[in-house]
Symmetry: C2
């Protein structure tokens, strides 16, 4: 009995994700599903990104958390286009929650949407939300084995971020082993090192600019 | 249709967890379910604990990970009583996986069992494994908001650990805010600060000694 129910849940999720993707592409919004462990620096990265790019790009954020609106409040200092989604005991965002979040954003005014998923390296990977790409985020304080231990995120990400390189003098981390594990799992994925704490994130900002530039509103899309 | 299936899965889990608890108590084994985010230092803590207590207590470990046996290999340097459980895409251990792990340990020879759950602050909280206590683990590099953002773990833990205090000079962390959030959620839970990197874990070792001393084999238990 269980397997068909699980399959139906995933099938329904995929159908709603397809609707999300259709709406986002029609509006010319490049969409990132940002996935990382609790405390890897997802919200801090988005704060810094909004601060640095707010005069270039209109960026919206959907942010998932179990219960608090702390991340939403932090991000609201930098953009009005932010929606906090509370999942309760839910360990990931699903396409329907994202759909409800999208209804509260003026998509036609956005260039980029970042969906900051619930802090969790496992469950969010299995759910399509309608994003263009998944971006996986690690930090050096988590240890150099975390890519190898979370292969599904590595397989499915278009980009991996390694944050907190400012802590490298103070924690054990073999960057060569970390990159070797990634290359063994997904040779095509790009890896960018950054330090949000030191505002050292130029390669990420360039990646975001290029991603947003790839999108233009679809011909004939609703205005 | 979905709710009854989920209820049945949890009910079955609870029934198997009760069997695990019965077997562990009959053998006089105090059992900890250790829950923390990826990279908070769970395996490093257990390595240090095994090294420091191996002449006092016989400690077994069940360790959950998606795919690799890296943690099991690390722990096997310090004890023969270690079983690696791979969950595949599964985001937590369940009671049946633990039951299979227990079958591979000589429980009568153990004083203490630590179940190192899959690195995840959310999903493991909802599954009884047959443990005596849940211990939640955070680290300062994750940020001071992580207890507030994971209230269910705080509610259900008998002890919370805050690791990596050696990194306090290098990361923003308000220890007062962290403890205030915890007190607001669960005033009864004990909080211990430690640095596994600096081998600064005496209060944790004392807690483990006291926990193991509370257990004696049940009268009339099978030999």
């Amino acid at each position: 009995m269980q397997v068909p129910v699980v399959e139906n849940v995933l099938k329904l999720n995929d159908e709603v994700a397809a609707l999300n993707r259709q709406a986002l592409r029609a509006a010319g919004v490049f969409t990132i599903d940002l996935i990382g462990a609790p405390g890897c620096g997802k919200t801090a990265l988005l704060e810094a990104t909004l601060r640095q790019l707010c005069n270039e790009l209109r960026i919206g954020v959907l942010v998932g958390d179990l219960t608090t609106d702390r991340d939403g409040q932090r991000l609201a200092r930098w953009t009005g286009d932010v929606v906090q989604i509370n999942t309760g005991r839910g360990c990931h965002l699903d396409a329907n929650q994202v759909r409800q979040g999208l209804a509260r954003l003026a998509l036609d005014r956005l260039d980029l949407l970042v969906i900051e998923n619930v802090g969790n390296l496992i469950c969010p990977v299995g759910f399509d939300l309608g994003q263009d790409v998944k971006v996986g985020m690690f930090s050096v304080s988590e240890g150099d084995d975390k890519a190898a231990k979370h292969p599904y995120l590595v397989y499915e990400s278009a980009l991996l971020l390694l944050n907190k390189i400012d802590l490298l003098p103070y924690v054990p981390f073999d960057g060569c082993a970390f990159r070797r594990d990634i290359a063994g799992l997904n040779p095509r994925v790009q890896v960018l090192e950054l330090s949000v704490a030191n505002d050292d994130l130029a390669p990420w900002l360039d990646w975001v600019r290029a991603a947003a530039a790839r999108m233009t509103p679809a011909l004939g899309s609703p205005t």
